[in-house]
């Protein structure tokens, strides 16, 4: 339940922010991370950003996500293939 997703801030309007990850665009509140700025990666949980991430780390993490998504999509079929791969599981970050 404590899932949180790293997303990048693309615009802010007071404490409200537009955030983006892999083409998904959402709104979130920056109430809990008032120092976050456009371009920062934030960890988003239940509509609120709860932490600002080191951007190198976040970028690395997102690359890893894409790699995992590629594997789940069948780049490496085999006994490890998850039959429920079409149902997105989010290992958080």
């Amino acid at each position: 339940m404590c899932l949180a997703i790293p997303m990048r801030i693309t615009a802010t309007d007071g404490a409200a922010a537009t955030i983006e990850a892999d083409g998904l665009v959402q709104k979130t509140s920056l109430m809990l991370v008032p120092d976050a700025r456009v371009g920062d990666y934030v960890l988003v949980h239940a509509g609120f950003a709860i932490a600002v991430l080191e951007s190198d780390d976040a970028a690395e993490r997102l690359a890893l996500f894409e790699e995992i998504a590629g594997m789940a999509a069948g780049d490496e079929p085999g006994p490890d293939t998850d039959p429920q791969a079409d149902k997105p599981y989010d290992p958080s970050i």
Partner: protein, 336 residues
């Protein structure tokens, strides 16, 4: 022991138990907020859902958890208004759209989620939403760890500490573990490598200590803004945990300042005496005393489709994760 439902899922999903050397055993603890919610509290939510003027708003997993004699899903089928949201702020939009109804948010979750409900309450006050209230069933993690160790029955040598709870609390709140109990812990992220790294760090500890593996998000001090918001909107209270019983100071109720948003002040319900599901051993699973297949109901009367106990309902419950990824001694069904 891991005490975070997302870790429970990751450990089962990646089959990490099968990779561990002899002598190292992973047990799941009380890390799934839905699972640790007491039957008596679920009864209150169900009783509120039965009030004709009330809409219950909650996160998805809670809907199917059996209460003493019902569930939110059963109440919804019988005509109650139960709605599922992703974020607490979504509940505000629902309340604003239908001012003639009362919207009660069933607030479950640990320190990660509680600040988002606190934030929603701040916004509700600003917007003057008089038809929004919160039944706060939030719980805090340190008290549960203490209760587990005080009970002394599960012989825990170290904790994989929750990543996103610790984003808010910081890792300093666990210093009593080595200090008072001689038990170490590592705050872990959620990939397979993160969990294995945490185990490696734990195994290498010469002296019990608290370390952070999940450094990209967690600090010793945590998110001060979120902590201040929690302290303003909530006040500690005693809370009953499924499996662990009453733990002093481990719950969060609304503070005096936000008391007018407390559902228990606004509505009076008499849910009656709670009844635990017969034969269900969720309590022992949550204390790390048994693995899910040791429960006679597991995979037989209790499955994710027809759950008896809460740990089989939530996808991050130990029983559900075990059922999905290990398929109990059935090699054909084991998908990990």
């Amino acid at each position: 022991m891991e005490v975070c439902g997302t870790h429970t899922m990751a450990i089962s999903r990646y089959g990490l138990r099968d990779l561990l050397p002899a002598g190292m055993r992973l047990v799941s603890g009380p890390g799934c907020p839905v699972c640790v919610t007491a039957v008596g509290d679920l009864d209150v939510v169900v009783a509120l859902a039965r009030l004709p003027e009330v809409t219950i708003v909650t996160f998805g997993d809670l809907v199917r958890v059996p209460s003493s004699h019902s569930s939110l899903a059963a109440e919804r089928a019988a005509g109650a208004d139960v709605r599922v949201v992703y974020a607490p702020t979504d509940a505000l939009e629902l309340a604003a759209a239908e001012p003639e109804r009362q919207f009660v948010l069933a607030g479950i979750g640990f320190e990660t989620t509680a600040p988002t409900v606190a934030g929603a309450l701040l916004m509700a006050r600003e917007r003057g939403l008089g038809n929004f209230s919160v039944l706060s069933l939030h719980k805090t993690m340190p008290g549960a760890l203490r209760a587990l160790l005080d009970a002394g029955e599960s012989r825990i040598d170290g904790f994989i500490l929750p990543g996103h709870v610790s984003v808010v609390t910081g890792s300093d709140c666990y210093r009593f573990l080595p200090g008072e109990y001689g038990v170490g812990g590592v705050v872990a992220g959620f990939t397979a490598a993160d969990v294995l790294e945490a185990l490696l760090l734990l195994a290498r500890q010469q002296e019990p200590a608290i370390e952070i593996g999940y450094r990209r998000a967690v600090t010793a001090a945590g998110n001060r803004v979120a902590q201040e918001l929690l302290a303003r909107v909530f006040a500690p209270c005693d809370a009953v945990w499924r499996g662990l019983g009453l733990i002093p100071g481990s719950g969060l109720r609304l503070s005096e300042e936000f008391r007018d948003f407390a559902a228990e002040e606004r509505f009076t319900v008499e849910p009656g005496e709670p009844v635990e599901p017969r034969g269900c051993r969720c309590g022992e699973v949550l204390r790390g005393l048994i693995d899910p297949p040791e429960c006679a109901l597991f995979g037989r009367r209790c499955t994710p489709e027809m759950p008896v106990g809460a740990c089989m309902v939530s996808s991050e419950g130990a029983c559900a994760a075990h059922f999905r990824y290990r398929a109990f001694d059935d090699p054909a069904g084991a998908d990990d």
